[in-house]
């Protein structure tokens, strides 16, 4: 009876043996290769990292001071600098998000295979790939070299980064939309604009709004570091505070950033809940 069916034989083999958890990686050779490779890599990595334990030990005290600074953040001493930097960060964030979203909508449409013809698709996907591959801070360095110091470089950086992020996700959303609705609009004799406006846009709008809010949040977080390379925003103030070991001011800035990010996240949650 047991020999009749392969599944039964498998069951018979297992009977009488203790059950063991199946492995995450089923193939033994792959599992062992990965495991041994990882171990070798870890040893090599640890051996090549130079660590000055004495310096680390000395630094623990400063680290503790910084933790303490979070309990007594100093918003007052550098209030003017913090306010100016924060306002510049927020302004950059808002302007760059608006421009970035406005540009990424046509590019997103162009990068969706079910809407755009092949040449347009290739160009738009190329733009998306370039924008995603270059990090904000590197773009910022180049743009500061080209446009000079100030928030304009930061504004361009954030807009550029927004395009890659939003266009890609928007294009994916358009590609996975329900074709039936769009076709129904087209069958009623709609022009291309009307087709996009009434057939495609209502389907992707909730997600577009959600993604835009998310990107606004990311842009604000990124704007906090652009100042490190001279592209405007709170980063310059923060850098100065660290350089001068003014931990209480640095803590104050970090707390403001965290609070604003939390606020934005809460707001985007509310807005996403409403539109979906």
């Amino acid at each position: 009876m047991s020999a009749a069916h392969p599944a039964h034989r498998e069951l018979d083999d297992m009977l009488g043996r203790r059950w063991r958890k199946p492995h995450l990686i089923a193939r033994p050779w792959l599992r062992w290769t990965l495991g041994i490779g990882l171990a070798v890599y870890l040893v090599a990595a640890f051996l090549t990292i130079p660590v000055d334990w004495h310096r680390v030990y000395e630094g623990l005290d400063r680290g503790w001071q910084f933790v303490l600074a979070f309990t007594t953040p100093d918003f007052v001493t550098r209030f003017a600098d913090i306010r100016e930097g924060m306002i510049e960060s927020i302004i950059m964030t808002v302007a760059a998000s608006v421009v970035g979203i406005a540009i990424s909508i046509p590019i997103g449409l162009g990068a969706a295979r079910n809407i755009a013809p092949l040449p347009v698709y290739m160009i738009c996907r190329g733009i998306v790939a370039v924008s995603r591959a270059l990090q904000e801070i590197i773009v910022a360095i180049l743009l500061v070299a080209i446009f000079g110091f100030g928030p304009l470089a930061g504004f361009f950086t954030l807009s550029f980064a927004t395009i890659g992020f939003l266009s890609k996700l928007l294009a994916e959303d358009i590609e996975s939309m329900d074709r039936v609705q769009a076709e129904a609009i087209r069958a009623s004799g709609a022009s291309w604009m009307q087709w996009i406006n009434y057939g495609v846009q209502p389907q992707v709008m909730p997600r577009l709004i959600g993604l835009s809010m998310y990107r606004l949040d990311i842009n604000f977080r990124e704007s906090a570091i652009l100042g490190l390379v001279g592209a405007g925003g709170i980063g310059a103030t923060l850098n100065t505070a660290f350089d001068r070991y003014e931990y209480d001011t640095a803590a104050a800035i970090l707390i403001i950033i965290i609070v604003i990010v939390m606020g934005l996240e809460y707001l985007s949650g509310l807005i996403r809940g409403r539109v979906q």
């Binding site: 890599y41 446009f147 000079g148 100030g150 928030p151 977080r221 660290f242 950033i257």
Partner: protein, 271 residues
């Protein structure tokens, strides 16, 4: 259904009058805010430099090409450091993110009113601060070097990994957990046989995804002195060695593309 009367006939409209007015008002406010922001940026900009930008860009381009290929021999060690920062940072952050995620998930947290908000606070605060800022801070504390980079990446990744992981934990199938509990398993056995197998694929996916992001981030950590290829970038920028800069940027671009490819492949194999 909103309609408009014209010549005795009814024509369909998408929105009625109040909605239209409301929308119009919102657009007006939005445009005003944007224009104000643009005005501020514009005031803070030296426009002479901007009009001069094409010439400068062209100038930099001619200086930066062709890249100084032989400089690649000096980039081996920095690339290795960058890889270590990303990989070790990801591993350390995962070790911390797993317990935090279990404490933050509604169905596994030991206490909803004390520990869960604390875990969520850890997640939000580590997530909202960029790794470059963490690196700045750690350099002030433990001195410049690869270690500061590893720790910066580790701290920054905790929030990201823990957030995705606790969402995965909250979405598990409770019936499996109940089945394991019904066999008389202890709390830890329920964890190991009821919950962990369900989130393991998500965990692996998150780990690889974050590793990919960390490769990107660790390439620039050197700009503030935290080791890796960014150090070389910074020193080349400081001496205006544009051919070296362009080579480093190419290497970074290649690293980003490779890591993205690896992560896509691994995630494809898992899911």
């Amino acid at each position: 259904m909103p309609v408009i009367e014209s010549n005795g006939g009814q024509i369909w409209r998408r929105r009625d009058r109040t909605q239209t007015l409301l929308r119009w008002g919102m657009w007006l406010i939005g445009t005003a805010v944007f224009l104000y922001c643009w005005k501020q940026i514009s005031d803070a900009t030296t426009w002479f430099f901007v009009w001069d930008a094409p010439r400068i860009a062209n100038d930099i381009w001619t200086r930066a090409t062709p890249p100084k290929w032989e400089y690649i021999t000096q980039l081996g060690r920095p690339i290795w450091d960058t890889l270590n920062i990303a990989t070790l940072g990801t591993m350390i952050s995962l070790c911390i993110a797993v317990p935090v995620a279990f404490l933050a998930a509604r169905n596994t947290t030991p206490s909803r009113f004390i520990i869960r908000p604390l875990a969520l606070l850890i997640i939000v605060s580590t997530r909202s601060i960029n790794s470059l800022i963490w690196a700045l801070l750690l350099i002030a504390i433990i001195g410049p070097g690869v270690l500061a980079g590893v720790v910066a990446i580790a701290i920054r990744s905790i929030g990201f990994c823990a957030k995705l992981l606790y969402e995965a934990i909250e979405e598990i199938d409770e019936s499996q957990v109940e089945a394991v509990t019904a066999t008389g398993a202890s709390r830890w056995q329920v964890m190991a046989y009821g919950i962990v197998p369900q989130i393991l694929p998500a965990f692996a996916g998150i780990a690889v995804f974050r590793w990919d992001i960390n490769i990107r981030e660790s390439t620039v950590l050197g700009l503030v002195g935290a080791g890796g290829i960014g150090l070389q970038l910074q020193s080349s920028l400081n001496v205006l060695a544009w051919p070296q800069v362009s080579l480093i940027l190419l290497v970074i671009l290649l690293a980003v593309v490779i890591s993205e490819w690896v992560s896509a492949k691994v995630r494809g194999a898992i899911i």
